[in-house]
Point group: C2
Chain length 287, copies 2
């Protein structure tokens, strides 16, 4: 497999939000290249930035591509941390992701670039890209427009090895979830069980879901207790424990209102992320 | 490269916590195997479970190993979602991870298995393992004992492509962080700036860090507003926004008390994770 060079990129610039735009000329060899010409056709000749062009080339040169010209590329949800999918990138795929901000891979089976979402429209909108210490592994940190997996699942990782070994395939399709989302999923399960009106003594979560007054009084109480760990100079472990209580009870309220933790984190990211701060700074400096 | 079979595993069982123990016989071919014999020497002959043995073999057979007998293996922090490192696994590496619950990889450069932490003691304690839809990519979801990267960094992904292109290598070593941890990092930065007593109008975060009374009154106020979105049946977007406020202000308190979000999530996981629930159920059913 020949891995093409980055030389067809003739022109690029950095916008105020540090987005990179490339205009690609002389690149009609395959469909991908044609698409690139289309995507970036709007970049003007005046956008040409030889310094940035050279930096991108240096960066691409610094990646330790394997004997097939590839590196592992992992797409991760910037808000939840969920690993969405894993593919491979070659120089062109990484260059395209840098320029388009849409997670782009090299398909080994089709020997062609592909941008996740080009068919489904579920693009992964890349906020940042990270290289590992060896420079042979890449993270595309981004926000997916919809489910990433071709099966319709939110991520491609829905087969738990320990569930399979415990013969729990039936419950299956449990996503690889980190703690906060595992808690969210448990709360949502309890809510579904309530609807199915199962017998037996309800769990604490179910009692909270059934009794909004109890839930709200707990949230206020736990928030107060969290504050008192500061006001009364309690130790760190107490703060961590009270924060866990606040988070748990607040997550139950989110569950009751059908609000996803991801929506909350997206709001936080837009308000407080580094890029938001930089964007604000850049706006202020322009005024 | 020859990929050895799983046949040296003679004996295994599922404990009450669904941990798998293998005792490995007839496997003195290399050091790794010797080590395995040592690690699992305590498993008794009575632990032999042919059904489970057969299930593990079926599972290993179901993985789509590449032409070198490898699959991509990604280690992810179960609490924070941080991608710690990426390596490759062969059958033996995956089998060893299943049995030992320590993230184990196949080193392509040394042509040998290696368990992350065997030198540094910073093991990654695997809570679950996920396969992707294609069965050629693996997530080891685990809790690291310490920094994962050989450089001492928490994860191997500390080079931001966009920072490099913006010439911000100096600030460098920004980890690939998702929203909550990016917020945590910003708060911690504001706290450090306070110590350096910079001039100028302090940001809201800095004002909160400087004034514990203000911070606590805001936490109580925001918790109350979150509750009122339920009590007064406000719309979902209002709930999400108020939850973002609660989370932000509570994160500032954590920053002030030097408590990491990861510590809080670890507490939540231990209290509320599925395996915790299952463990409790299993305890109850035994009594």
């Amino acid at each position: 497999m020949a891995v093409s060079n980055f030389e067809c990129i003739q022109s690029m610039k950095v916008s105020s939000k540090a987005h990179l735009f490339f205009s690609v000329n002389g690149c009609s060899r395959d469909n991908h290249k044609k698409r690139n010409c289309l995507v970036f056709a709007s970049a003007k000749k005046s956008d040409y930035n030889p310094v940035l062009q050279s930096k991108v080339k240096t960066l691409l040169d610094s990646v330790r591509w394997d004997d097939k010209g590839l590196a592992v590329a992992i797409a991760q949800n910037v808000d939840t941390g969920a690993i969405l999918m894993q593919g491979f990138a070659n120089r062109d795929a990484l260059a395209t992701t840098i320029s388009s901000r849409k997670a782009t891979f090299y398909s080994r089976s089709r020997s062609a670039l592909w941008t996740k979402g080009e068919t489904s429209k579920n693009f992964i909108n890349v906020q940042d890209i990270f290289l590992d210490c060896d420079r042979d592994s890449i993270i595309y940190l981004g926000k997916p427009d919809g489910p990433t997996c071709h099966t319709g699942s939110e991520t491609c990782y829905y087969t738990s090895v320990f569930d399979v070994l415990k013969d729990q395939q039936v419950e299956g399709n449990k996503l690889a979830m980190t703690t906060l989302y595992s808690l969210e999923s448990t709360i949502s399960q309890r809510k579904a069980e309530l609807a199915a009106s199962e017998n037996g003594k309800p769990s604490w979560t179910k009692r909270l879901l059934l009794d909004g007054n109890l839930l709200c009084s707990k949230i206020r109480e736990e928030a107060d207790e969290l504050c008192r760990t500061l006001e009364e100079n309690e130790d760190k472990s107490r703060t961590a424990s009270e924060m866990a209580d606040v988070l748990y009870h607040a997550m139950v309220l989110l569950g009751l209102k059908d609000v996803k933790a991801e929506e909350v984190l997206e709001i936080l990211r837009k308000r407080f992320s580094q890029s938001g701060i930089e964007e604000k700074k850049s706006r202020l400096s322009q005024n």
